[in-house]
């Protein structure tokens, strides 16, 4: 297998596998947030900003995979 095709496959695997964890994690996060809002609808203005902030932190592991893929392809 030549280097170019190995690079492309490696980049695809890096992004693909990294996205699994982030997808599951953000799904759990969103479902718990919806549950909390459903239980107590007045608290929505406090939960929504916290939801976005924690999503940004959870998403970061898949961003690491994306950065590695970009470095493989374009670095």
């Amino acid at each position: 297998m030549e280097l170019e095709s190995a690079k492309v496959i490696a980049a695809a695997i890096a992004v693909g596998v990294g996205a699994i964890g982030a997808g599951i994690g953000e799904g759990i996060l969103a479902s718990r947030a919806m549950e909390a809002i459903g239980r107590n609808p007045e608290i929505q203005e406090k939960i929504t900003p916290l939801l976005f902030i924690t999503m940004a932190i959870v998403e970061s592991t898949s961003i690491y995979g994306l950065v590695v893929a970009l470095i493989i392809l374009f670095g």
Partner: protein, 274 residues
């Protein structure tokens, strides 16, 4: 309602004129069909052997803009705020109260707040400058003149290193140098030794995780928008630019939030035992 209708008609006319002009004026095909993506920023010119990249140029420009805004605000302070001073005061107060809820004490907040708010403002403005229309079209001797400042990993790495070094300094100041070292090199039991090594790795991983989060979000957003623009330039890149705008604000906020949290954690006296 009549003035509102006039202005919306004018807006529609304006947008239609721009679309028509772009249809007529864009005649040349893209060079190779691919997207020009480079992780390292492009060098514009060199001053006596020191290469000036486009992100350096825009970083200095952005810093000058922020300094000018701050100086103007300070020189025209009024008792009853109006206009720009009002906006700045609201932002600063809100961020100060938010920092207070995390640190828990006013003295700590007064020391942490300047660093955190400066980081927040700098990253926020740097990301928002990327959305100025027409900026990406300027070129300088064939290299694109504009590039979002945060897509330069040098800048992100050194901002993160500054923050992490400040965290270590705060930990040394609160615990004393030997108390600080005892956290990492601990021979009291094998478990504590392994925990000490993992703490060291944890500190290094803070650098990597914070810098990659900021760099990756903004750079990936730019690459995505560039690819979408090369595929279908009308209307389709808009959702990606919206996500880029949202993540620009959120990433600036998360970076400063993590700074505050880590410095607060480091400033608490280390309790004995894990």
């Amino acid at each position: 309602m009549i003035p509102k209708r006039k202005s919306s008609k004018l807006t529609l006319l304006f947008v239609g004129a721009i679309l028509l002009l772009s249809f007529l004026l864009i005649k040349d095909a893209p060079h190779d069909g691919g997207v020009h993506v480079a992780i390292a920023p492009e060098v514009l010119f060199s001053i006596g052997g020191f290469p000036v990249t486009n992100t350096l140029f825009w970083g200095i420009f952005l810093s000058l803009v922020l300094i000018a805004m701050a100086l103007r605000l300070r020189s025209t302070l009024q008792e009853i705020p109006r206009g720009f001073q009002n906006l700045a005061e609201a932002l600063i107060e809100k961020f100060f109260d938010f920092t207070n809820t995390i640190t828990g004490s006013i003295e700590k907040t007064k020391k942490i707040f300047p660093l955190a708010f400066s980081l927040f403002l700098f990253i926020l403005f740097a990301n928002l400058f990327a959305f100025l229309p027409g900026a990406s079209a300027m070129t300088f001797h064939g290299e694109p003149l504009f590039r979002a400042v945060v897509t330069d990993y040098n800048l992100v790495l050194f901002m993160t290193l500054t923050t992490v070094i400040i965290i270590q300094i705060v930990a040394i100041a609160v615990n004393g140098p030997f108390g600080y070292l005892k956290k990492f090199i601990n021979f009291s039991s094998p478990l504590n030794f392994i925990l000490g090594i993992m703490d060291t790795v944890g500190e290094l991983s803070k650098v990597l995780s914070m810098s990659f989060r900021l760099f990756g979000n903004i750079f990936a957003g730019e690459v995505l928008v560039a690819v979408m623009l090369s595929l279908m330039p009308y209307f389709v890149p808009l959702p990606f630019m919206l996500i880029g705008l949202l993540s620009a604000v959120i990433q600036a906020f998360v970076f400063s939030l993590l700074t505050i949290v880590f410095i607060t954690m480091a400033s608490e006296k280390a309790s004995h035992g894990a």
